[in-house]
Symmetry: C2
């Protein structure tokens, strides 16, 4: 599945993509090229209509399908909500959720939805501010300029969110202004047994039969939001070869990393991730098998870990392909030579620090030394423990708030403090068993990676074992209470220390080391890489022009493609699956057991109805829930996965193999009518 | 730790090692070179004395230290025995084991001990038989010739074991004849909390404080075996720089693989192993945390998996070092060119199949396709489930025994049938929880790696989930009863089918596919590689002479080196740890919690006593328990681990970093005297 959570742990920014592929911004979509290639007449109005109905969700995407805020997305994007509602006895994870009327729609804790309403180019202002800056100052200046731009555009208006998006790693900056909905309610999601039919075994595979769709609704002042910009639902399936468009928020691609960056990922970053995710997965699976309560509690975490594991495993495989590395080296050499031959670029490229590729390579050497400590103490600290995260954010906010604004670390703005306060107040259930499991795992891995004799490990553990320490922290903390969290967030560091809360005390005792690890990483890795990537981006623009799509940034993009299967070796995969295949694949055992509703509907459903299909659209994690559109701009599916080759798309798009997997609106329509009897929903979608 | 179990899953044979390193056979030990380098006067009598007292154990090594069969080895080598005896209430895993008198020594189920008594060169006979053979016939001919040689030398005499050892991958063959002891009893092993002090976090690390030694005794006709060949115990610790010798059975090195073989390991074999071992480790850890009974039951399996995980992780890191790959390529190119320039070699090297490097590279392409199926259905089938292994060996023996001897598959000799009968009769306790865990894991991974649509996966699972199938098989089988196993072993295939045992039925239903996967692998990978490696070995002998140590084969080797720390980057590691360090490192939490005996003895123990030390000896998994000898041939320690750099020794030995980790006889002597009060043992060792 392609939720953005799939890409945890990889935090390299990257450089623009090549012309034949691309997740395009709406501002730079190559209309003329696409119209010519597919014989279409798309225009700016088409783009505007789609943009106005595209939605960014937590790690996912979606689209508005009615004037009353109805949003289509994937079931796996609302799985955390379904789990939270189940724990509050407002839903049931076994049976899914279907609101019979508006007043039965239930708010998803912490769910937000962003609709892009304005875009402004701020490149000149950002590059002017960054000119001649270096190291820590460079990162500070970029941050402060961003904050100023956002403050001017959004002020303190909670209905809007502002973001300065860095495209091409310093090549272009834009201010994105979103209308943000903070009350998003669950309308409909099928039984998880059918929405994630095939489970992990089928994830990133095709043929595919998971009914991975759901509906949310945007609310405003406790009423359904008015959304005059919305898309039309078509229940007609596309034909093989028909052009398709996917509008959504791909989170991250790394197609323009230098070879030195790719090799560090291959040799260090990804192997560590693969090993840790596999072990955590084993723990979660074993825990889930101890009972149905445990299985339910761990479901969301397990799905996330299994998905991430497949992703990082596929990424490592991609980078172990020496042909890919050679191709990247060749691209790099070509650009280096072209830049060296251009007199206008020579000064910019070879300043006192050395050329940017050398600077990045040197930073990778530093990264190899610093990464284990940076990762374990800071980037992956707590390893998914919510209580630890609460404690850390409370401690840091308390410390930064005590400083004059101009001395605060980047990111600690008043807007951030307000956002944290909102988040801590959300009453999300805490799973104590999982908290212990995650903390134990994190502490064990930290000791393993840094070794027993490392002073940071000694400071973290003292005389305790990872298991005993995790137990003590989880048992003693009061951070499971939202009121207590909010109260603590308002405290000074001294007041926090006086609470005697063990999790707070643990974070306070170790946070200096964690912040030091971050600072070292920023100075030795992030700052030089940021600057060097900007130089490379400028050289690439100068040499190749700007007709390239930027790497993904979890902002709105549009990709074009067509419905098509693929051939690999002796295996040819047809582009469509049909309802008959779902029933053929069903067994008595999860994750291939159908819910009663589908067993009962077997005679009613048309076995020939297209279920899922694959397209050549270039998408990435974060695109989950994106509408798939036909040339008329009608929604004909929702993208919910890539095929296994799409994982390599992090580094390179291969049109022969890389596929988007979509659920057809045809099967959604039939399911709503014949399985779930959701007449009011069909009516809202303009269907009988 | 360096038990041979550490290298599961890697089954590539390899080519000879370089002159400056080496695990030498006693027949080819470079006496003159070593005497010159260290200023010594070792002679053949010295070698004979050591050889006669060296012992090969199950996956480990040891040495005879008294005329009455007393054997020194590592505590981790007897951990499975301690666990088995605990389950029979003859010992206690918490407190270790100390027999107060001979009649309290307890037989370790399934433990054997081999002492090498004769070596004969059989190269001419083997190469003559293999001449002009190819493919499946080549493997058959080599096997039948080996069987004939073994039969002539050992006959049916159960007191002896014969083995034809292939050195240099076809360069030299030798018949090794061992005196085999089948009644090996536990004499002494410390509390596991101190023998594996530091546990997994300290494994393959140094400084080190695990008291990893134990004593076994060889029995003959229910009496202690007479062992006139034995080594002298010295309680004096070596000095820094003093020469040291390690005699033991390293299981496997891969130093002469071609670059194509190394890259397949890097790209496919090792990543699959790393992922699977990490996940299995997570499962075992989580299971262990559910209770002390569970922790005890899983202890041996967990230690094995954690050790293997560190090994394969380290091996993958070694192969991700492009410098190592480049060095291997350069060696390969040099030999190829030298061979091509030698008119005497041209015909041998470039026969109708192409040159051997090309043949091996082609076989790797085949291996990439075949490996997932071969691994999951055959090589790693059952993933550690004892019940599955019993069923498979029973089914296969039954099928092969029904054929005329000349039509049986390689390996299915009368001697093998007898060995199987002995093994199945051993009453080893079955852990049902772990059986289910392992089978579930194996079935899940098979479905994941081969995908849901694979016909073999469909055949294995039918309509069941991995969990439900594993549960049904473990619950229904009667293979936990040794009498039933022995009875089944005597049955015909029809009789077996009629038992209705679900595990037997499951294996019978799927074994054809597994055997097919093996046959495909043998034909497409093993046979061509075997032949090509023999060609390369002959070329290497012709070009460089035979002054090289062969790759490890789990047969007796002698390595030389000296006591020395190492420096890596800014970190210098001293060669010795001392008793004071053990007490400094102790905490209240496992694996750093000392047993009561050591807490009580604190005032008695000399804090300056050398505990462990590191040497430059080149060793590998299987060397665990090997005696460390001084130049006088006295035992001054037992090798129990390598440092983290020793893992890369699978592919290349680096004298600057690669270290053996040994426990000093000084601390063993003091512990026996002051902590454990084993006066009779000290007396048998010639100590007061």
């Amino acid at each position: 599945m392609l939720a953005a959570a799939a890409v945890i742990g990889l935090f390299w920014p990257s450089a623009p993509a090549r012309a034949e592929e691309g997740m395009w911004t709406f501002e730079t979509f190559p209309l003329a090229r696409v119209n010519a290639a597919y014989g279409l007449r798309l225009d700016q109005a088409w783009l505007d209509r789609v943009r106005g109905a595209a939605v960014r969700l937590n790690g996912c995407s979606g689209s508005i399908l009615s004037p009353e805020g109805l949003v289509l997305t994937n079931a796996h994007c609302v799985a955390p909500c379904l789990q939270d509602l189940t724990e509050r006895r407002q839903a049931d994870m076994e049976t899914g959720f279907a609101a019979a009327a508006r007043d039965e729609e239930r708010t998803c804790p912490g769910q937000t939805a962003d609709v892009l309403v304005d875009v402004q180019d701020v490149t000149d202002r950002m590059t002017a501010a960054a000119a001649d800056q270096d190291g820590a100052t460079l990162l500070q200046v970029l941050y402060r300029t961003e904050e100023a731009i956002k403050q001017e555009a959004c002020g303190g208006d909670a209905r809007f969110t502002c973001q300065v998006v860095d495209f091409h790693h310093g090549g272009r900056y834009a201010l994105y202004k979103y209308r943000t909905y903070r009350d998003v309610r669950l309308v409909f999601t099928p039984e998880p047994s059918v929405s994630s039919f095939g489970g992990d075994p089928d994830n990133f595979n095709f043929p595919r039969y998971s009914l991975d769709f759901a509906f949310l609704r945007l609310y405003d002042d406790d009423r359904p939001a008015a959304t005059p910009q919305n898309l039309r639902w078509s229940s007609a399936a596309p034909r093989e070869g028909e052009p398709t468009f996917v509008a959504g928020n791909p989170a991250m691609t790394l197609r323009q990393l230098t070879s030195a960056q790719l090799l560090r990922q291959r040799d260090q970053g990804l192997p560590i991730l693969v090993g840790q995710l596999a072990e955590l997965r084993g723990r979660l699976l074993q825990y889930s098998e101890t009972g149905s309560r445990q299985a339910e509690a761990a479901a969301t975490a397990l799905a996330g870990v299994e998905n991430s594991y497949k992703v990082v495993n596929g990424q490592l495989s991609a980078l172990l392909d020496d042909d890919l590395i050679q191709a990247k080296r060749a691209e790099e050499d070509e650009l280096r030579q072209a830049a060296a031959a251009d007199p206008a670029l020579v000064d910019m490229m070879d300043d006192r620090r050395g050329d940017p590729w050398t600077v990045i390579a040197r930073a990778q050497t530093a990264a190899r030394d610093l990464y284990p400590t940076f990762r374990q103490l800071e980037a992956a600290a707590g390893s998914g423990s919510g209580l630890y995260s609460y404690a850390r954010v409370i401690v840091r906010v308390s410390q930064e708030r005590a400083k004059p604004p101009e001395e605060r670390r980047p990111g600690y703005s008043d807007a951030y403090f307000a956002a944290v306060a909102r988040k801590l107040a959300i009453d999300k259930p805490i799973q104590s068993d999982l908290e212990r499991l995650n903390l134990t795992f994190w502490l064990q891995k930290t000791r393993e990676l840094l070794t027993v004799d490392d002073p940071n490990v000694r400071a973290l553990l003292g005389d305790e074992s990872p298991e005993a320490l995790a137990e003590r922290l989880v048992k003693g903390t009061r951070l499971d209470d939202p009121d207590m969290r909010v109260a603590m967030l308002a405290m000074t560091p001294d007041e926090l220390a006086a609470t005697g809360d063990p999790m707070i005390a643990f974070v306070m005792a170790n946070d200096m080391a964690a912040q030091l690890a971050r600072t070292e990483w920023e100075l030795a890795v992030e700052a030089p890489v940021t600057r060097a990537q900007e130089q490379i981006a400028r050289a690439r623009f100068a040499v190749y022009g700007d007709e390239v799509a930027p790497d993904a940034t979890f902002t709105l993009r549009l990709s074009y493609g067509k419905v098509a299967g693929w051939t690999q070796g002796r295996r040819t995969v047809e582009p469509f699956t049909r309802v008959a295949g779902l029933y053929d694949r069903a067994t008595d055992a999860a994750p291939f057991r159908l819910p009663e509703s589908w067993v009962e509907a077997r005679e009613t459903m048309n076995p020939q109805t297209p279920f899922a299909y694959v397209t050549t659209n270039d998408i990435a994690g974060g695109n989950s829930g994106s509408p798939v559109l036909n040339a008329r701009g009608e929604v004909i599916g929702t993208a919910f996965d890539g095929n296994i080759h799409a994982i390599a798309g992090t580094f390179a798009y291969d049109e022969r193999l890389n596929r988007t997997v979509a659920l057809s609106t045809t099967v959604m329509t039939e399911a709503l009518r014949d399985v779930y009897h959701q007449t009011h929903l069909l009516k809202e979608l303009g269907q009988r």
